[in-house]
Symmetry: none
């Protein structure tokens, strides 16, 4: 029993990991399901036992990887003992971007599938109540010394700007390498946050 379930999990995980590896190295379009199963060491039919098709596994991967990313950032924040919403949000953004800067294939994978789409979908779609990351954001906002209006809009605007601009800066060094672009980005983020403060 446990042994069989163990085996099932192992196969599914092998497919998951292999798919991620192939998607990031060869690209989604050039990765065939046969590539995945072959490299994962399972039979072709087994793939269909766990995933509907290539896009099913892709979507699950994007969500999974994005969650990982923000969980790590959130945990680092907890340990950092930073106060003030501005600094906290910038800490998170910075943590995520730094991670992605060291892992270009992941940046590429997540971005190509709609820049920051992972986060966005995580944040602004689906049932928000069972969304850990979103809840965490709200908490940060709630604990700040200031009050904020249109919190959703604020988060959305920041995420879109940071995600889109950082992607290009990190990937293509356009218009500047990220190290140089960083201060401009964070200045803009701070301005956006401030503009949502209420008396």
């Amino acid at each position: 029993m446990g042994k069989i379930d163990e085996n099932k999990r192992r196969k599914k995980e092998a497919l998951f990991n292999t798919a991620y590896e192939l998607f990031t190295t060869k690209g989604i379009n050039s990765t065939a399901i046969s590539d995945i199963v072959e490299k994962a060491g399972v039979a072709k039919g087994t793939f269909y036992l766990y995933f509907k098709d290539k896009y099913d596994i892709k979507n699950k991967l994007v969500v999974h990887k994005a969650k990982e990313l923000f969980d790590a950032a959130g945990n680092a924040l907890s340990e950092a003992g930073i106060h003030g919403l501005e600094d906290q949000l910038i800490f998170i953004i910075d943590h995520v971007i730094n991670t992605l800067e060291k892992n270009k294939p992941l940046l590429n994978f997540i971005s190509k599938n709609l820049v920051m789409g992972a986060l966005r979908s995580t944040l602004f779609t689906g049932e928000k109540n069972d969304n850990e990351i979103y809840e965490r954001f709200l908490e940060l906002v709630a604990h700040d010394d200031y009050n904020y209006g249109d919190v959703d809009v604020m988060l959305f605007t920041i995420v879109e700007l940071a995600g889109s601009a950082a992607y290009n800066s990190v990937m293509y060094q356009e218009p500047l390498p990220f190290a140089e672009y960083r201060p401009f980005l964070y200045r803009a983020v701070r301005l956006i946050i401030k503009s949502h403060r209420e008396p």
Copy 2:
């Protein structure tokens, strides 16, 4: 001579237009070259006379459509007699977004192929001197009452924010329908512009 060249242009244009239509309705992945040529009323081989493959014609289309979009916005600006960089940039952004809002398939087509990638590549890569749109932006900046530092960074930041945020707002009404999100976006844009002003 004139007759032959005329005919060539017609065929190429037919392929171009048909490809655009199919890409926007069925999506790129589901559009086969045979679909394009069939609908365009030319032979299969003719396609390869003018384009290398599906992605060649796609890239040419994206650039073409993005140029159209900004040319129209630029022309409208000239006629509108608006003064002040802030209002001018917002006018352009607004014009582009309004156009795209009325033409979702185009928004989808351009966005999927790297959000605002067209503009970005138009603006921030390649030979800038033979880049009409970019020149036009610089002129606007130059004629403003204020001086601006890091103009490239400013334009880039605005484009990324506007492109990315508007795409989601218009396409998915997330986090708000664009009509409601618009003031927030433009407030952020104005803040970014102001932050680049120099004494």
Copy 3:
């Protein structure tokens, strides 16, 4: 298990036989893979399960047919109880040529793909130790009353001469029909053999 493997063998063999038939009747260039699979009664994809492409199956066919040919000749020799290297080699050559004379399509198929290339490659390339036919030749040489020098050269010269001359004589009756050319060929072969004798 047995059933599946049995089925696999049947399909592969069907492709093999059908390919041979089509290659010999229509020629390789005019035989499409779709012709083969259609006639063999299997799906297109099945072909690629067993062979890389048209040239892969062709090469395997040439080797296979050449082996068949020499195996038959070798077996006939064993039963004929002939003594003396000269007579033995001529018996083999004669057996092969006679077989090919009765089977022009096979002659044509094998010849077009490098005259006697099959035998040559069988004899003079690859690992000689696991080459049955070559071993058999060596045995014949070893058991003769005479000693021979440069055995490889001798075999090579005979094979080239016999293969090339017989091909033309049999196929085109040039310069004579084979029945009439035969004595000349064998006289030459005997001279070559004798010239390799050592004291």
Copy 4:
């Protein structure tokens, strides 16, 4: 007039030379007519003005190149002042093989299209009377001190042996590099010649 004819000849020759170059470098199957005309700098339609198809130009090339080869050998023989049929034939064979050894692409081209097929077809088919090379051979035979029977058979046997064996020895160094195989080949040739002597 002359000018136009001059132009015609130039185009035809350009096609001829270009085809040879492409056939020897890329192989016949991989050379498209469009490759030839493009490289030759003429229009596609022009090809069909002078040649029926790819195989037409190939055949003409083989004949042309083979003629060149034997003409050169024949001329060299005249200047060398060699006496005796054996030495004369071996001189010719040696001259041809040496030339081919320095020009592997040509060897490959001629051989692939039926080993020595060029010569064979030149020698043993068609109207023999208007065949310079054949006539020249007959003359050599006639002027020898000995009389020879079955001259056609003798020439044929020698050509097949030399062509086939030399091709492999030169191209693949099998079973020996040609420098080492040469004495064996010429010994066999001399034996064949002697065996055709009549009292």
